[in-house]
Symmetry: C5
Subunit: 301 residues, 5 copies
């Protein structure tokens, strides 16, 4: 996640972070080179003039607008829903912590650390990273073997939290109605995990990307022939400008479509998980918290 | 469901899976042939010149954009809502399993296998396939006769789960308040089933498809006459390109509009049902799980 | 509701059901006749040439796209929300039936038939049809006088169900917590009824229809003058094609805007109510169910 | 709220109600007059020809489409959300009434009239009208002083309902779990009131209206110069037609943006409040109901 | 938040508040100056004619419409969701206050002031302002040390409210089921806080702003060359008009994208927090309320 530096309108034209320019540079150079070739050969291919105007391109524009617009908003919806699900991890985690403190008189430390471990386990599962350092740090040692070699260690943590709740209830130290209420917060954590899994493991229908990609590239490859007669030597510049806008939409959609990755515009799962852990500990009155995540080069990962 | 292989921008132009090209090839060839005919006969029909320019086509573009854009997003909304409902089957199934374990001291095995059977029965109902192998594998034999010849066997499984809950409650082995909470998870499964039935049995108003189809085909059949004077021999190429984008949107919308089918871009119900079953069993501590579904040729069904 | 026959791309051009063509034929003929007149008189009106090009029409296209696009999606949203509310009638009805069976040991027959009667009463209220045959079939005779001459008989049925629940609770045959849970399902039925009433009795702001209608007709009536100089004798054909797409969007929006009607694209309330009744009875183990509604000529009402 | 008379396509062109024409007539006349002036002076201003074509206008069309489309759908969303909130007042009111009847054995009359008074108080607050006639009609006299000089009398009624519920519970005449359930319906009424307040007191960001207004007017004032060379004497007609569509979108958005007003397309709060009151009384078995609101000149207020 | 003065159509063209004109004036002047230069030098750069027409600009229009439209609606969604969350602070605060009064017989003053303090703490956190004056005014002195140096003081207030609820329940002065219900309102406040934090700390993906900004500026800088041949001396005027609409959309989106700021179109957090406090106190019967916030120069902050 790029933390916006809010430059003024002039410096915004030259900002480096988040410009995607480097990423789509190869394609832009290819398009630029082809356009120059078209200008040099006066739009002839094998000594035969390619008669083309801009008209068919504006007709294709209808389909292109639908595809690009759809791809862009569908990808952003995935991104923002993913963010909401992480917000739910935060709020339901805080709800569970508050309820454990106010519904029981048990020592909340282990339970609340279990909540934090659940969040870290979710993060590691979504990013395919190693959860063990965080789990060992936060969970009681006797629980760890149960988590080994699991497909979803987070679920085992949730089961363990539910069992602690059961033990407390069976010992008569929490009213059943309040236990049911607390269980609902655990259910909310499960729902958030399930939502993240849905987004992570079900991509946009792949055919969208294929058709959009082909349409954009065929469009940009033929555009020089269509503009040559109208704007002459300016063709390479304008074609590259058009291509820049289309490629940029496509590349950005591609990036935020999978919001749990580690590319610049993806969600800062690391920073969010640490923030949730700190918020949960602070609720217990703790003052010695993990430091706030600081953006490195305007970037939180 | 096509599991995205993430090729680079160049190979993406030639990827085979998910391109829909084969599917719309006949129509494209017809359009291409007609365009060539138009070029050969100089846009004359029965020795009479068809005077047409691109202007009316850009006016029709307004209606076309509305229809194509609407059809595309309405179809995708159905697809994504279907996916959310299957996510709800997963999360509410996991909630019910967690609650059964932490609210009662009963042996959870039969109950949790019943939850998995409910998911499989839902899948078979939506795809009109034979549920019996899965039901026999997961349910106690004495339950099976009750399911025979039912319109919705899944509902009978849900009733059976509710009756087990009733028996446990009447035997005093679960607090009523916790039984009510668990019943809510069963209600969530019922809601997910009902949502899937809604999508499966209520198509988009058929008239949308008819009008869009006609508009697109009349448009593409007349387009060669409209472009001939402007772009000459390039007409067949550009008309086919325009037709490709329109036909592709239409074909893709048609495919994901019924997300429970078995076409390449439909939801991978088989894989999801097995994943849910494995997740439920793993929650009980089981380590001998059904293997993770592997995409065959980038394709999960 | 037209049950989609899924013809191939060629036969789809000539399908009869759901084409709306007959419905908008008069207007199309008027437009066609006017266009022919314009061609014959060379675009002159009272011996004075109407100088018009396509340019202003593409400028009006902006407003037209907004109106048509908005009207279309707002109407579809009403249609689909109505369908969701009927899905809620199904799922909350099934929830209530399951809960009655698993929360009490009462004979469920009368209660569940009451749920079915509620659904039928809702349908008859929305369509202004006579509810009595269905009510007499499903409800105990002593209840009927209470329903006579009511504005919303469905609410009286709901009150009666709530009273049965009260009697059962006061007799100690259902735990209060479970009674509260069941009452929530009754509340869900009430919410679904209220949602249907909202859609049925609050139309889209009428002004939308008026402005859109006028814009579309003025546009189509003046279009022949705008196209004549560019496409000559093809004018009548293209103007009628443009008009077809606009009129079709308008006519279809008009139809699904009131989704509880009995036009071809409206919701199949009859079929849905019978399906819900069958599902509720099947949950009780009944095997002698009302037959599945069969589409007549691809059409469910 | 205009109750749609559903005229046929021809009479719809000349319908009076809901046409907004009178409202935007002054602006249209100004535009028409200016266009005629432009035609008369051959597009010259101070003897200097204004060289303008339609090209820049179609470029501005992009921004215009975004602004008009956004303004229109944001306003309609406010309108429809407001309608949903009034639907919530109806359904939660009915839920509370049903629960009061089936959860307690108290005389429901005063409580249910209190619910109706809450709805009327909400209506009067949103429209800044005098609530006293309705409150005196529906509430017990001893409650009235408590409501005098309050910013939100509706909230005092809600508190009074909650206190009656408390008294009943403390007297042991309602189970706490059922009281909690009923309190949730009161919470729903509070949420609906809060939602209405949100829409009523937070307008769309005012800047949208300003920018849109300026863009539309500058556009329409300069359009005659842009069309003159292409369409000559038809300029005034076409410019006025373009202006009509834009002004109409703007005026309609302006009207439904504040859905609680008393303009023709606003919500019929009076009719809805009376309908809710009648529905609540009918639930108690009452047959002597306030008459159904009848549209006056197709108009409900 | 600008409180709309509803001027008539003529005065709306010259309104000062909310016009953004001053803010984008520098950029507009730069564009205007460049356009004049282009006119003076007849579109030549270094004695070489820049051959450009409007065609490529209308092709770029597709991408521009997608970007501007998306940026605008995504920003407004953030703004309106933020407003809804503040509505939730109001309604859940009122729910909690009503429940405290009707579920317990405790003195509600301290509890309800705690709710108001929570809202003020949320506001100060979102705006990075000093919460202490408000906290000292509303909270008991012994609570204050616990809030010092906290990252989220609001959460500590919520914990304190939950502990008061716990103490009341343990003293047997509130039924557990009602305590669970009240805790849900506290959970709603936590959810609203979490939602606000999500919007405040996760900006729109920064790359959107960068790409849109570049596209808009390159577009406007090259537009004079594209229009010169068609509209001659009118170029500077029309280019500036086009630039005005684009810059205005961008500037407005930028402003409401962060709805918790203090710019003119941002949410009036101060006014809303005071309104919520007054509403809560009025529910207790208080008549000596903080005065209603009055807009200063049509502006609430």
């Amino acid at each position: 996640m790029i933390v916006r530096p809010r430059p003024n309108w002039l410096r915004m034209l030259f900002v480096r972070r988040g410009s995607l320019l480097l990423q789509i540079l190869p394609q832009l150079l290819v398009i630029f080179a082809i356009s120059i070739g078209v200008v040099i050969f006066h739009g002839e291919l094998l000594n035969r003039k390619i008669t083309l105007t801009a008209v068919p391109f504006s007709l294709v524009g209808v389909a292109l607008a639908i595809f690009l617009g759809f791809r862009n908003s569908a990808s952003y919806d995935r991104y923002w829903e993913a963010r909401k699900l992480w917000g739910k991890l935060l709020t339901d985690g805080r709800n569970a912590a508050r309820q454990w403190v106010s519904f029981t008189r048990e020592d909340p430390r282990a339970f609340v650390q279990g909540l934090a471990a659940f969040v870290h386990a979710t993060r590691h599962q979504l990013r395919n990273t190693d959860p063990w350092p965080d789990l060992q740090r936060l969970l009681p040692p006797e629980l760890l073997p149960r988590l080994a070699e699991r497909r979803t260690p987070a679920l085992q943590i949730l089961m363990w939290l539910a069992e602690r709740l059961r033990d407390t209830r069976e010992a008569g130290r929490i009213d059943p109605i309040l236990a049911a209420e607390l269980d609902r917060s655990l259910g909310g954590l499960n729902d958030a995990l399930g939502g993240c899994e849905r987004i992570a493991y079900t991509p946009l229908p792949f055919t969208y990307s294929v058709i959009l990609h082909r349409t954009v590239y065929i469009y940009c490859l033929m555009l020089p022939f269509g503009l040559l007669d109208a704007i002459g030597v300016m063709t390479p510049l304008m074609v590259t400008f058009v291509a820049y806008t289309f490629f940029a939409i496509e590349a950005l959609s591609d990036e935020i479509e999978e919001p749990f990755g580690t590319m610049p515009n993806d969600l800062a799962l690391n920073a969010m998980a640490i923030t949730i852990e700190a918020a949960l500990l602070e609720m217990l009155g703790e003052r010695n918290l993990p430091p706030k995540p600081q953006p490195v080069n305007c970037f939180l990962d």
